[in-house]
């Protein structure tokens, strides 16, 4: 499979598979609904009115296009590749998550759904979902692990201000995977009126595909902006991955440009060797969870194990199925960064560029810090700065031993 790929952009197949990965591993109750979402999405993406409406809100409400910024001081500091940031942290609500939420809520409206549910880890997807629900006046319930509620208090408050109900999830490790379990349980019980806005490029088909498609605006813009800035394509793209939607959004439009190399950064937590990490590709193996087959952190009995990362948004024991496939085909290079490396990167960026990155892209930045110095000065490197760090100041303070 790995050697005979003509295009990396044709997946998934008609049944939602990316090679071995993806699929629709859901309870029968959800099957007709998942098929309905697929039909509705296929109709929507062929409908110019849908795209026009989405473009309108992305421009006037989200604030797209987000800038492609040349980080001059960081580039000087690292002494190698020219480092550009795709500034998706400047979007309304502070992360790339809203690109997807806007697309999905317009789809939910087309489908006549009257209630929205979502899961959230760091709270960015929850905030983005609560935001579009406020905008379109739809009731919104967000499932969030109680561990995450504690470490992401500002985002919990924001969701409530936006009118969403935040339901704490105490089962399992009380983080993102458990929130996703409870969101699926809610959906099974309320299939008739409810639409589930999944926050990353994972879950049963067609979610990995449609979330990716809605995030591709990131890479599409980078292509245009880089042509304008440098007159050519970038050489290296870097992004962090939990579920992997921001990385796919940046990478996917470039997958068939063989000159562009891509690096995705998983969360190594306290270090892969400690077992306390969230690096499903580096430290996991293929399995089936949350509607798709992908790489998962699990034990020898097929029980899902707990992920660990300082970043709540990366604290998930799986990864989107398309990443699993891109990993096996070796089109994308997958590496990891530890909690400590992410914290160091966070501090460096604040000082050098006046930008507080979210702890999620701080993992990507940690890789940029390692890699850029080894590359020539005319090498164009783009990192997706997919979220802002305001939500993380309490976590960072605690990690630095500072009381606020």
């Amino acid at each position: 499979m790995a050697t005979s790929v003509n295009s990396y952009r044709t997946g998934p197949d008609e049944r939602g598979h990316f090679g071995l990965y993806g699929g629709r591993y859901v309870a029968e109750t959800l099957m007709p609904l998942v098929l309905e979402v697929e039909r509705a999405y296929n109709a929507a993406r062929k409908d110019p009115n849908f795209q026009r409406e989405l473009d309108y809100y992305l421009k006037h409400y989200v604030g797209r296009p987000s800038p492609l910024y040349f980080a001059e001081r960081l580039t000087q500091h690292l002494g190698g590749a020219k480092v550009y940031f795709k500034r998706d942290e400047l979007n309304h609500t502070g992360a790339h998550k809203i690109n997807n939420c806007m697309g999905q809520i317009l789809l939910a409206r087309r489908m006549g759904k009257t209630r929205i549910i979502a899961e959230t880890g760091a709270g960015q997807h929850g905030v983005a979902t609560a935001t579009v629900c406020a905008l379109f006046n739809l009731p919104c319930t967000v499932y969030m692990g109680s561990t995450d509620i504690e470490r992401q208090a500002p985002n919990v408050f924001r969701m409530k201000l936006l009118g969403a109900e935040v339901k704490p999830v105490t089962s399992g490790s009380a983080t993102l995977k458990d929130a996703m379990n409870d969101a699926l349980r809610d959906w099974v019980a309320n299939v008739e009126n409810t639409y589930y806005i999944i926050g990353t490029a994972a879950g049963p088909h067609p979610f990995p595909q449609l979330v990716r498609d809605f995030q591709c605006v990131i890479g599409d813009e980078v292509r245009e902006q880089m042509k304008e800035a440098e007159g050519r394509l970038p050489d290296t793209l870097v992004a962090c991955i939990g579920g992997g939607s921001n990385a796919l959004g940046l990478f996917h439009p470039f997958l068939d440009d063989r000159s562009v190399s891509m690096v995705a950064v998983e969360a190594a937590g306290l270090g892969i060797e400690t077992g306390k990490h969230a690096a499903s590709l580096t430290g996991g193996k293929p399995g089936v969870l949350h509607g798709n087959r992908t790489y998962l952190l699990q034990d020898d009995d097929g029980q899902i194990t707990e992920a660990h990362s300082i970043s709540a948004g990366l604290d998930y024991p799986g990864i989107g199925p398309e990443h699993a496939w891109l990993h096996d085909t070796k089109r994308v290079e997958y590496v990891s960064a530890t909690d400590q490396e992410a914290l160091d990167a966070f501090k460096l960026l604040a000082k050098l560029e006046g930008i507080l990155p979210a702890l999620e892209p701080a993992h990507a930045l940690a890789e940029v810090i390692k890699r850029a110095p080894t590359l020539p000065r005319d090498h164009l490197l783009v990192m997706n700065l997919c979220g802002r760090g305001d939500k993380d100041v309490f976590t960072v303070a605690a990690a630095l031993g500072i009381k606020l």
Binding site: A27, E28, R185
Partner: protein
């Protein structure tokens, strides 16, 4: 004829519905779980459903989630589950059908082919894999078929006319009708709705239909027994197993009451008419 087919034929001949119970393998521990299982046929259970623990049971409510956690803490694994079934068969019961119910990942990691072969060897008769819909079960079904295991398909209130043929294509053993839209052990269905759904499904298949989800009391079980070939009780029994005291005895007592209600339901209905 398989144990499942033999049992449903017998129920039909006797003109009564069957009682199916669900317990989680290894809940609250291996020995207690086996002791409960051994007493089920005598307490009146017609078909035994045994849950295979999974860390992320997305179709299950709090009761069965808790049962899974208890089993996990006590060391339950796929291997130990198969051991328990084998031990049950060795203690002399060769008639009562045993169906394993669980999620796909533990089976996938065990190896689908190896799992089917060893399940058959242990004395399992059928498999219900909640998150393996017809679209995906080609990776398990060939091995189930070659080992003579039934793949039991789920039909639900959302399984409409367009969807039903996909569910029935390749189904064997019996159809498990999920009475409610939702997870196990929460809301209960209106009997009229169950009745009309069953009538619809029966137009397309001769397979027996067991109804489960939300059946908690002997009265509810009896009501279902009047319209279905079997009634499945899970969460209510798992809750008893999770309570304090002599759980083996209280589980069997509860099952006896359920069995009486289910077995006499149609006679009573006739007498009332």
């Amino acid at each position: 004829m398989s144990r499942i087919a033999t049992r449903f034929t017998k129920l039909k001949q006797e003109g009564r519905a069957g009682l199916v119970t669900f317990t989680m393998a290894g809940d609250p521990d291996y020995a207690t779980s086996l002791a409960i299982m051994r007493g089920l046929p005598k307490a009146g259970v017609d078909l035994i459903e045994i849950g295979v623990m999974f860390s992320d049971p997305m179709a299950d409510g709090p009761a069965i989630q808790a049962g899974g956690l208890r089993a996990h803490k006590a060391g339950a694994t796929v291997r130990r589950t198969l051991d328990m079934i084998a031990e049950f068969r060795r203690s002399g019961d060769n008639e009562t059908p045993v169906v394993l119910m669980g999620y796909y990942n533990p089976i996938y990691i065990f190896g689908a082919e190896k799992f089917c072969a060893e399940a058959k060897k242990a004395g399992v008769d059928g498999l219900i894999v909640v998150d393996l819909p017809p679209e995906e079960d080609h990776e398990l079904r060939p091995y189930a078929i070659s080992n003579g295991l039934d793949i039991i398909r789920l039909a639900t209130p959302t399984t409409d006319e367009a969807r039903l043929p996909a569910v029935l294509d390749g189904a064997s053993g019996f159809i498990y009708y999920v009475a409610v839209m939702g997870i196990t052990g929460t809301k209960s269905a209106a009997i009229e709705q169950v009745q009309s759904s069953l009538a619809r499904i029966r137009k397309s298949t001769d397979l027996p239909i067991a109804v489960g989800f939300g059946i908690k009391t002997p009265d509810q079980a009896a009501e279902i027994a009047r319209v279905a070939d079997a009634a499945v009780v899970g969460s209510a029994l798992v809750e008893i197993i999770g309570s304090k005291g002599d759980t083996v005895r209280s589980a069997h007592r509860f099952v006896e009451v359920l069995a009486n209600a289910v077995h006499s339901a149609r006679k009573k209905a006739k007498a009332e008419a």
